[in-house]
């Protein structure tokens, strides 16, 4: 019963899975960045630079899947 259901699934799984991982990654970076600033509000400048860097790396994976994946 499961297999015919699975067979009906359509769409772009590759990008979907990549987006899932990427979004979770970006969210985790944001979570930890907010936590760090909450513990040490004076470190906002340094934390945000590192957070942006981490988010950029995590976000780029989904672009590879979209544009570099098969067709």
């Amino acid at each position: 019963m499961v297999t015919p259901m699975l067979a009906e699934l359509t769409g772009n799984f590759q990008v979907g899975l990549a987006a899932l991982g990427s979004a979770i990654g970006v969210g985790m970076v944001g979570w930890k960045a907010s936590e760090a600033v909450g513990r040490n509000p004076g470190a906002f400048g340094k934390v945000i630079v590192l957070a942006l860097l981490g988010m950029a790396f995590a976000e780029a994976i989904v672009f590879y899947a979209i544009f570099l994946g098969s067709h």
């Binding site: 942006l52 860097l53 950029a56 780029a60 672009f63 590879y64 979209i66 544009f67 067709h71």
Partner: protein, 314 residues
Amino acid sequence: MRLVFFAVLLFLLVLPGRAAETAAINAAAPAAAAPEAQPEGLPMAATTAFSIGPFPVTSSMLVTWIVALGIILSARLATRNMEKVPGGAQNFWEWLVESLHDFLESILGADLVKRTFWFFATIFIFILFTNWFGLIPGVGTIGWGVDTAHGFEVTRPLLRGGNADLNMTFAMSSVFMALWLIWAVQCNGVGGFLLHLFGPKGDSSGFIKYIMVVIFFGVGCLEVLSIAFRPVSLSFRLYGNIFAGENLLEAFSHIVQHPPWARAVASALLPVPFYFLELMVGFVQALVFMLLTSVFTALVCKHEEEPGKAREGH
């Protein structure tokens, strides 16, 4: 003058890349379908706006020229009569350049920033204003097109976001990789550069040292692979963000289709929150490009003082 040099360099780099890249992307992406009831996404490659003789000029190229010209002109005009206590436009440019300089100095260190500041500041300012220029109403919506059932549809816009063209972002990434190589060799020397990549780090003595050499050589090969991937990641990150943003705005303009009055109103009002998102994304992507390129440079050029060893004269 550096700004002019860099703008010309970018233009020259886009030239050979354009034909190859457009052919590749047009082959890779399925051909844009004829106008249908469903809204199509934007074409992945920029379309030709006009041709200068045999040389086609895409809408994105045109935008980069306009933005470069705008930056150069406004910077020159603002600093025509330099005053000790600046006001207005000169103050704006001084604030921008000084903030960037302080920021980059904290990443790169004082002597490296003297040599490389021109590139990172130009990259930031150029990408920022190119991204924001793509949000001006009219960019991407005014141009040549076809008449469809839903009214006139623009298929070849006159202007399109400059970084929504992979050629442009790849050109900038390639220029950075070339400069990175030059700066790395300038900082370390050719032998020092190779040692930096492949040489063993840390202290080890005796037999272990030889094993470490082999291991670090393997690590160096992996590092070369990751460095070779950097132009791809830099270009696709910027391209993906800006192209996806344009696509998003286009999609939200076309969501309401049926009552024509609702379509006209919604196509103007619905994208407004996303314009704010794109303003932020444009700024963040410019910042991230500059941050990443400066961090890559700092990684290869800066040598930290190790606490246990005294390094003479470095």
